[in-house]
């Protein structure tokens, strides 16, 4: 039971990041590697704003280290990281992958500067999951599930906002630029700026995910971004492939489910007796490869099935 709750918690929190990757990878068609830097950036900002209790300035801008206000700063920091990648790609015409790598690499040092060291614990600090407000609000029996409930509320809140946004005029333009940037130009809009906007939104969500992840695990570590991109991408691909045929499941919901399925399969793989904790990245990459291949096989099978059906109908 505890394992299952753990999977759900982690799946929910990581899916905030996965929703960001959904925007760049699926909507914008932009393979954005900034993620590996902006995920820990959100965590680093959060660690720094939470632990610098001596600074009067930080106390005042965060309304006394309020964790919810700190989350907003994490969100903004990710947006800035995305803005940099976007400008490098659009204004200086650097290739998409390279633009992300440049920002990601730079962010590694910036994250260390912001956090102060490679590992910052935040034990005994107020987080969005455990603070007086939550303790007063939740009945005792539910307090055990605080992460699950709050994580669920935040993730589905973000999903709803994203769904609504993608149906606005601005959202329409964002969806159009990913499949056909020429159309956006003929609509008399600067397609480059639309692209930048999308990368900013995506990385804001990724950094928010980093901040929340860090508050759940109780410490910041510089390596927490490594593989974030692969993890998010796997969630997006699992989700959108599995639920492709089911019309009433929105892509955003599918991504959240994808994230949980991925976390579950990771935990199964890590449970096998001969795997060690240090094998995690290897398992991550192998699992990701399996998902990619399985997606292709499934498509082929569907095609064969359709052909057989047509053939049977002919006779």
């Amino acid at each position: 039971m505890d394992i299952l709750i753990g999977i759900l918690e982690q799946g929910l929190i990581y899916s905030i990041m996965a929703l960001g990757i959904y925007i760049t990878y699926k909507v914008l068609n932009f393979p954005d590697l900034t993620v590996d830097g902006s995920f820990p950036l959100g965590a680093a900002i959060t660690a720094s704003l939470m632990t610098n209790t001596d600074s009067a300035l930080i106390s005042s801008i965060t309304l006394g280290h309020n964790p919810y206000i700190i989350c907003i700063y994490a969100l903004i920091s990710g947006g800035i990281a995305g803005l940099i990648t976007g400008i490098i790609h659009v204004k200086f015409k650097v290739r998409d992958l390279i633009s992300g790598i440049i920002t990601m690499t730079g962010l590694y040092s910036i994250n260390l500067r912001i956090a102060g060291s490679a590992n910052v614990p935040i034990f005994n600090m107020d987080t969005i999951f455990s603070n007086n407000f939550v303790y007063n609000l939740f009945p005792k029996a539910l307090l055990k599930y605080n992460v699950l409930i709050i994580g669920f509320a935040i993730t589905f809140g973000i999903k709803l906002i994203l769904d609504i946004y993608l149906r606005t005029k601005s959202g329409y333009l964002l969806r159009a630029v990913g499949t056909n940037s020429v159309l956006v130009t003929t609509l008399a809009k600067d397609s480059g700026n639309v692209k930048i906007l999308g990368i900013v939104i995506a990385n804001s969500l990724v950094a928010l995910g980093g901040s929340i992840m860090m508050q759940q695990q109780g410490f910041f570590e510089i390596t927490m971004g490594t593989g974030a991109m692969v993890l998010g991408l796997a969630s997006v691909i699992i989700g959108t492939n599995l639920f492709k045929k089911i019309n009433f499941v929105k892509a955003t919901t599918a991504v959240i489910f994808g994230s949980m399925i991925y976390k579950a399969s990771m935990s199964v793989a890590m449970d096998i007796s001969f795997t060690k904790a240090s094998d995690m990245r290897l398992v991550t990459s192998i699992l990701f490869l399996i998902i990619l291949i399985a997606g292709q096989v499934k498509n082929k099978k569907v095609k064969i099935f359709v052909r057989v059906k047509e053939y049977l109908q002919d006779i």
Binding site: T168, K169, Y172, L173, A176, L183, T185, S191
Partner: protein
Amino acid sequence: MLELKNIYKTFNEGTVNESKLFSDFNLKVEKNDFVSIVGNNGSGKTSLINIICGSLDIDKGQIIVKGEDITKKKDFLRYQNIGRVYQDPSMGTCTEMTVLENMALADNKGKSYNLGRGTRKNRISYYKESLSKLNLGLENKLNIKVGELSGGQRQGMALLMATMTPIEFLILDEHTAALDPKTADIVMELTCKVVREKNITTIMVTHNIKYALEYGNRIIMLNQGRIALDRTNEEKEDLTVDKVFSIY
């Protein structure tokens, strides 16, 4: 209306592949003209259109629209007054969005793409009506992704979307070339209807000489960046496909 003055354009300047396309090229298009541009591959038809739309920079010269010099104007800003239909039917629409969403997207051209609702409910009946005028059955496919439509249906939509908001120029870039002959005829007929209805100045690049003669009031033939033939109104009436081929 539209004037190209002393245009110079050389590709790959300073390399072994250097090729001079336009040198001192001049063209004037009057208001409400329907100009068909024909010519061989490499004659500069598409480059000409790209120069007008701003997706291709020129080395020297001036582009003037209604007395305003737009030579330095960015491409997306020029499209405020230009509608364009491409050869590839997927270029004029967003294949991942539904018919309705595409219509709403085009309907908002010239206005701000803000956080307002993407598809306004009170416009849906108008979209349905304009789609039904195409006679392609699109009015019953409002919630289907454009990517699932046929090439002809998509090109019909692209035409509708390009001319939905007030524009001064319509640029048709071989917009029937990727369609089968029958669909091409339908799309060409639609084009003619829309242009006449809205009185839009039109420039059409085509490989189909029959269309070039049949539609529009002016025909221009390009040959290696020069105008080899330019006939308007009555002068154009006398031309036949054979005569045009003899100059080709």
